[in-house]
């Protein structure tokens, strides 16, 4: 039973990583990160159910709160990036190229 949830969580997490690694649009990258966070949340909830303890729920609530705060921050950063270069392609922002 628990395996199903974990497999779903892993699938979601890997989709998130794939999104972060392959997509170039800042918004898509951001959404992928959110997907990874929710995959982790799903694992938390599943384990919480398994152990019949509330700890996992607490952590899941916490992650959601952090994700909301992060969303506010990232949107501000995105606006700045757009003002700076006029584009939202991550390949444009490669100042650290060696």
């Amino acid at each position: 039973m628990i395996q199903d949830y974990l497999i779903l969580s892993i699938i979601l997490f890997c989709l998130g990583i794939l999104g972060v690694v392959t997509r170039r649009n800042v918004f898509t990258v951001f959404m992928s990160i959110e997907l990874m966070l929710n995959a982790a949340n799903l694992a938390f909830i599943a384990f919480s159910r398994l152990h019949e303890s509330m700890d996992g729920h607490v952590l899941a609530m916490m992650v959601m709160a952090v994700a909301a705060a992060e969303a506010a921050l990232v949107l501000a950063v995105v606006i700045l990036l757009h003002k700076h270069k006029g584009k939202l392609d991550t390949n444009v922002f490669s100042l650290l190229r060696g």
Binding site: T90, L95, R97, G98
Partner: protein
Amino acid sequence: MEHTATYLGYIPLFPLIGALVIGLLHMFTCTKESPLPEKFFGALGCVGPVLSFFLAVVVYFQLKGMPEEERALVHNAWTWFAVGDLHINMGFLADPLSSLMLLFVTFIGSLIHIYSIGYMSGDENFGKFFAYLNLFLGSMLILVLGSGPVVMFVGWEGVGLCSYLLISFYSKDTDNVLAGNKAFVVNRIGDLGFVLGMSFLFWAIGSGGFDYLSLKANASQLTPAIGIAVCLLLFVGACGKSAQIPLYVWLPDAMAGPTPVSALIHAATMVTAGVYMVARFSFLYSAFPVAGTVVAWVGILTALLSAIFGMFQDDIKKILAYSTVSQLGYMFAGVGVAAYSAGIFHVFTHAFFKALLFLGAGAVIYALHHQQNVWKMGGLKDKMPITYWTMVIGALALAGCPPFSGFFSKDEILFSALAHGHTGIWFIGVFVAGMTAYYTFRMIFLVFHGQPRDKEAFDHAHEAPSVMTIPLIVLAVGALFAGFLNLPGIFGGNLNVSHWLAPSVVEHHPHVSIWIELLAIFSSVAAVVVGIYIAYVKFSDGAEEPEFKGFAKFGYHKFYVDELYNAVFVQPYKAFGSVISRFLEPNVTDIHVKLSSTLYKKAGKAFKVFQVGYVRVYAIYMVIGLSLMSLFLSQTIN
């Protein structure tokens, strides 16, 4: 036996705090539009020394109230470091010897701080000067009060540093900076001797404690070879600090600093540190008289050599500088023949009259707008009466004319040399006494008597302000009467200072007939009278600057010793350095250094390919790293 006295720690602390406060205030205000007023810095600078002086008086009276053999106050502030058996305390010791030093160092230090308010007025670095001067006094007090050689060495290096800083004080002139460098480098040579001597001493008898009292108790365990080596190495340190042959060359150049510095550091206090050290280790030097004899001969030969140089100088401060070297030679002759109390007493009286002469010279230089050449002076007697009369008192004391202080202390040294059977040292000493009288009064006559040689400077000359003349008068009283503190039996006294110092130093007074004592007194008085008479005949009535030739030219150029040192030590060293920089460095050391730098460059280029600059690639790295770590963890846990 020992009494503790916590307040000993405050004696060096007051000037050190003063140095810190003044230094910071000067640092943060000197660039401002309206800097702090000079009077503020001057007053702040005088607080520390004066407080220390009062504490020194308290120390003296507390010691005086104790039974004679118990006179020692100690204060161990904290354990500085402890390595194995070696426990070094930041400890202070006040016994009769250090209390005498304390008294005159703080007293003359305070007076010179007051004098400096007048002399340094108008200088843009007024605050910096007082910070350095306070720092110097604090270091000197650590040197004097230290309870062991290591703490003394802390003060020793501190005063060396301040000496360097103050010689180069007028740092816009390259010559002054070079003079400071010279003093610093020559002192390093001496310090090496001090450190080696200290190490030998620790290696031999350090296991029983490394402060003076323990060392004194264990001194009998020293073998003669080690003992003599320790004594001579410590004396090398003393030679550096106290300007003896062959390391005396820095002191005349040190006159590049402001005149109060010459008076305080390079005449009254710091340069006598070497004599103090020899007296401190009197238990070693009297156990190994051979070392003492070396000290005495080096001292008296230095006295002779620098007296010869002093006779031909034309810079008023250089004349006084050579007379300081010469008097330091007398002091070493005194401590060398195991007459430690006589040597220290000469340190004491010399501090008064030499500080007086320097401050007087400073007043003359101040009045003549920084003219230092005695051949451009003359006839100042009526224009500067206070300076004139105080300087005459100082000159009579320096020449050793009875009943001025220098007579009693110098005579005590010469008499001790004779009584201990060192006839050669006594004879040279009497001869040098005559020369001293000659060059001192040559200076007095050239500066104050005869006709003015530079009419324009003479017309502008005026007496110094009272903040400068009052210290002169106080010092003149000291120079006049300090000698009576140690009146020998033949004049109805009972050698008070010698008895006071007796618990601190190891010496014995040989009993000799009264005729030898009379011979010593009359010979030195005769030498002084002859010296002053020759100076009077030659210079009292306006002599003109002579053409130096023959021996006089040789003496005027200081026997070309500076040139000799330059040719023998400095130039070969420079050549050695240029050989290294030109051949050794590029061909041997640089190759390896450059190899490593190119290796890093190449490695950097190789790794550069990973730094693509795209955020998503970095995310891949992160994922790979995290995956590997998880894999590793899962492998190890199961």
